[in-house]
């Protein structure tokens, strides 16, 4: 059972009556934002001085923005629009580069005067010399030294 203190309730009601609080007089006492700002000149000046001093200390890195740098990351909608798979970069060596590398290898082998295996050196030299002079194995002009060395 709750025993109410009637006198206490009455006092509380009295205290919270609008006329007891007198909000209007409180609002009238409170300065406007403009007045508050005008009365805070010292505080604001101190804040701004501190801001200027702090900002002056920052070491902002040199940076140059150039047109054509990567721009916005495409949204998922933009990505879904394109169903064609992206072209993958080509990997591996081109046949032309491969042929050139083989030729360079032959040339280096031919030019080496101190090959460890004299027979192999001679056979390769002969083969290269024959090839360079327009005679190939396909014509039937087989170099026996080359066959022996193989």
């Amino acid at each position: 059972m709750i025993i109410r203190n009637k006198e206490k309730d009455r006092r509380e009601e009295e205290a919270y009556r609008p006329e007891a609080l007198d909000f209007r007089s409180m609002e009238a006492d409170a300065p406007s934002l403009e007045a508050l700002e005008a009365g805070s000149v010292d505080l604001l000046a101190m804040l701004r001085q501190q801001r200027d001093e702090e900002n002056a200390q920052f070491a902002v890195p040199e940076r140059t923005f150039v047109e054509g740098e990567p721009e916005e990351v495409p949204t998922s909608q933009q990505v879904n629009k394109s169903t064609k798979p992206a072209k993958l970069p080509r990997r591996g060596m081109s046949p032309w580069w491969l042929a050139a590398a083989v030729m360079v290898g032959f040339a280096v082998g031919f030019a080496m005067p101190h090959a460890s295996d004299k027979a192999a050196h001679n056979s390769v030299s002969t083969f290269v010399a024959d090839t360079l002079h327009g005679r190939s194995l396909a014509t039937g002009d087989v170099n026996m030294a080359l066959l022996v060395s193989m």
Binding site: Q50, E54, A56, F58, F65, E72
Partner: protein
């Protein structure tokens, strides 16, 4: 709508990067994070420069709007708010004291001031910084934060009154 060219943007970067870094520092209380956020801010601004429309607000308003969003993201991601408060106790790495005879006294006042700003509740702190430290007009603060001008005014009032009270207590 005039498109920002690379030259325009480079000039704006030189003019505003320090202010942005200061704003980030005062919002987060972390100097290293402020540097990172400044670079991220300008990368974002550069990437979305086509969306900038002078008729809707100045570059500064746009910049602080994006900066504020970055801060919010950072708060959610790392809970920087708590770190900012603990940072105050760890010394003033972020605030370099000026040279002078009254160095110690000034340094103390500056620390107290910075602490008072950082202790402002979320919602009041960004309004206070943009309005009274970065000196943006009420309208631009509202645009940057995406809130009505009336809300900016009431928050600015509360924040300024709170700051005055705190400084008064500190001086007593």
């Amino acid at each position: 709508m005039t498109r920002l060219t690379a030259d325009d943007f480079n000039r704006l970067y030189r003019e505003h990067a320090r202010c942005a870094q200061g704003f980030f520092l005062r919002m987060t209380g972390d100097a290293a994070l402020a540097e990172d956020l400044t670079q991220e801010l300008f990368t974002r601004l550069w990437e979305s420069r086509d969306s900038f429309d002078e008729r809707q607000g100045t570059f500064t308003t746009w910049m602080y709007g994006v900066a504020y969003n970055l801060c919010k993201n950072e708060y959610h991601r790392r809970e920087v708010a708590e770190r900012a408060l603990t940072h105050i106790d760890s010394g003033d790495r972020a605030v370099i004291p000026p040279a002078g005879a009254d160095n110690l006294e000034r340094r103390d006042t500056r620390r107290q001031l910075a602490e008072a700003v950082r202790q402002l509740p979320d919602g009041l702190r960004e309004v206070f910084l943009l309005r009274y430290v970065e000196e943006l007009p009420i309208r631009d603060v509202a645009l940057a934060l995406g809130i009505p001008e009336g809300t900016v005014k009431s928050r600015a009032y509360t924040a300024l009154a709170t700051m005055r009270e705190k400084m008064k207590q500190l001086n007593e």
